[in-house]
């Protein structure tokens, strides 16, 4: 009887790249629904526009590089980048912000480095940072959450939203405003309790700012689904959320006027959950081993808190992830797992002495 000979690693089922990417896309749905519910049609338009741009760019560059367009476009990786970028960008941002960000993500951050699997930085975050530092005004204008809209004003409908995005039509007063993290950063001289009472962004919220808490819970739900489906392990997200919670608890100082905010606020504000489950879990640009991913996540959590508390930007997930991407090869170098059959951890990769 002849046995089929297969070399290691012995995977039990072939999980194709496209399947993984489709699951990730599916897992963004709860967060995207929460975004649309709280902030109107803007995010959906962002995602669609970014997706179209990303697929066109990916196909064009892959064609220029002389590779098979159908093969590379059908792995859905460009779509995942586009969807994450579309979610991260402010709703109702002008169309050129979205297009420029996506072109940078796909063309420069991904394809110029060699395409999927070779990019040292998370493409969506590179695109985000490029537009963030290039167009500060457009990037710091967010839509007002549902609970805070003035009397008689509602989020622009689909047609009106398209008008705002594509023809620079200005939305009605009160439709745009600051985010909770931004507002918190700029209300200096007030005790945290006073901010929570006076600032409607916090007063209307249940835990951490109107609207944003639901968006973060949506991404948390999607992320838990991906962990249950074993798309990634718990190490990265737990490392980041743990470090962020620990740091904000340490520096909380019971809500004085210089407090950088409570752990609950940091965990459920801004891009925390999106970052923890969808950005830093990118298998290409993160550390590789489980121990490495834990350290990588902790590093991101620390950086997010440091920049949020003492930096110039209200949110910091993109910067933290890019900085940690730099560190990922270094982390990998010191967290090599032991290979099966070896007792010493580094034996397999080092040359024999002599």
């Amino acid at each position: 009887m002849a046995f089929k000979q297969v070399t290691s690693p012995h995977a039990h089922s072939a999980q194709k790249t496209s399947n993984v990417m489709q699951l990730v896309l599916l897992a963004t749905v709860p967060g995207l629904v929460a975004l649309t519910w709280q902030f109107g049609w803007g995010s959906i338009i962002n995602v669609l526009l970014a997706s179209i741009t990303a697929v066109v760019c990916e196909a064009a560059i892959v064609h220029l590089r002389g590779r098979s367009v159908a093969f590379y476009v059908s792995d859905y990786s460009a779509l995942v980048t586009a969807v994450l970028l579309g979610i991260a960008l402010p709703p109702l941002a002008p169309w050129w912000v979205i297009v420029v960000g996506t072109v940078f993500s796909i063309v420069i951050a991904k394809q110029l480095y060699g395409g999927l699997g070779y990019n040292p930085f998370n493409p969506a975050m590179v695109g985000y940072v490029v537009v963030l530092i290039s167009f500060p005004i457009q990037m710091t204008t967010w839509v007002t959450p549902l609970a805070l809209l003035p009397e008689g004003v509602s989020h622009p409908g689909l047609i009106e939203s398209l008008h705002i995005v594509f023809s620079g039509y200005t939305p009605a007063d009160g439709v745009t405003g600051a985010t909770p993290l931004d507002s918190f950063k700029h209300s200096s001289g007030l005790l945290v309790d006073q901010i929570y009472q006076r600032d409607p962004l916090f007063a209307q919220g249940i835990w951490a700012g109107a609207g944003w808490e639901w968006v973060n819970l949506g991404f948390l739900l999607g992320g838990l689904l991906l962990i249950a489906k074993r798309i990634f392990t718990w190490h990265g997200p737990v490392g980041m959320l743990g470090a962020l919670a620990l740091m904000s608890a340490l520096f909380w100082d019971s809500g004085s006027s210089t407090s950088p905010g409570s752990p609950v606020m940091h965990l459920l504000s801004g891009a925390t959950m999106l970052g923890a489950f969808f950005i830093l879990t990118d298998p290409v640009s993160s550390a590789v081993s489980n121990r490495g991913r834990l350290i990588y996540g902790i590093l991101i959590g620390l950086l997010v808190f440091i920049i949020r508390a003492w930096g110039n930007y209200p949110d910091a997930v993109a910067f933290a992830v890019l900085l940690a991407n730099f560190a990922a090869p270094f982390i990998d170098n010191y967290t090599l797992p032991r290979t099966y059959g070896h007792t010493d951890r580094r034996r397999a990769t080092e040359k024999e002495e002599g």
């Binding site: 420029v100 420069i108 490029v130 530092i133 290039s134 167009f135 500060p136």
Partner: protein, 237 residues
């Protein structure tokens, strides 16, 4: 006595051995001051003048300076020319000097200059050394200006803005605004833009070289591999 030709020196400085795109020397000013055409042009001209001067003097003293002290001697010569450039800029283009600030004195640390003194000028007669200084300086200047033009155009949507700093009041209205008044794309003006545009320029040069090489290869006569054998099987008597 010289083993180089004028065309070779020219081609080397402008293309094959371009200080900015091939040797990657002088990256600090290259990345720091190329936000606009006028800054790039100012620094490029200053660097070129220093390079011509230092190359000439180094070539003249090449038989009289011992090997042991040649580097300090070169550095002093370069520093003297940089001081001249600095004083000239203070006298004639003071506003531009204010903008470029520390990068004018820092020309002295530009490795391209010391590199040419050491690698070329200290071994060649005056004429070739001066020509090499001019061509290397011109190659550096052209890359600086190209980089400045690209970054200025994409970063703030203007071209030839504030050229009066260098050319006097005649140039006040040289500014072009091809994208309208309100255009701005900050990343091109910020340091990351300098790295990205430089990378793209280097890639562009490499791909042009590759295209030339491909064309040259196509016309090359290829000798048939292996010796031809006369057919020996068949009917031999």
């Amino acid at each position: 006595m010289s083993d180089v030709s004028i065309s070779q020196v020219t081609k080397n400085g402008l293309w094959t051995n371009n200080p900015a795109l091939v040797q990657l020397l002088g990256l600090c000013p290259l990345l720091a001051v190329t936000g606009t055409v006028v800054n790039a042009l100012g620094l490029g001209i200053a660097t070129m003048m220093v390079l011509i001067g230092s190359n000439s003097i180094v070539s003249l003293i090449r038989h009289h300076v011992s090997d042991a002290v040649r580097l300090p001697a070169f550095v002093i010569i370069i520093a003297a020319f940089v001081t001249c450039a600095e004083l000239l800029m203070k006298a004639y283009t003071y506003d531009l000097f204010q903008i470029l600030g520390i990068f004018i004195p820092l020309i002295v640390t530009n490795c391209a200059i010391l590199g040419r003194a050491e690698a070329f000028a200290s071994r060649q007669p005056l004429g070739y050394a001066a020509l090499d200084g001019f061509m290397m300086g011109l190659g550096f200047l052209l890359v600086l200006v190209l980089l400045g033009a690209i970054r200025e155009l994409f970063g703030q949507g203007t071209l030839f803005d504030s050229m009066h700093l260098l050319f006097g009041p005649v140039a006040k209205d040289w500014t072009l605004r091809p994208f309208g008044e309100n255009y701005s794309f900050l990343v091109a003006v910020l340091p990351p833009g300098a790295f990205i545009v430089t990378g793209l320029l280097i890639a562009g040069k490499n791909s042009i070289d590759a295209a030339f090489k491909r064309r040259a290869d196509r016309h090359k006569h290829r000798p048939v591999k292996g010796a031809k054998r006369i057919r020996t099987t068949g009917n031999i008597a």
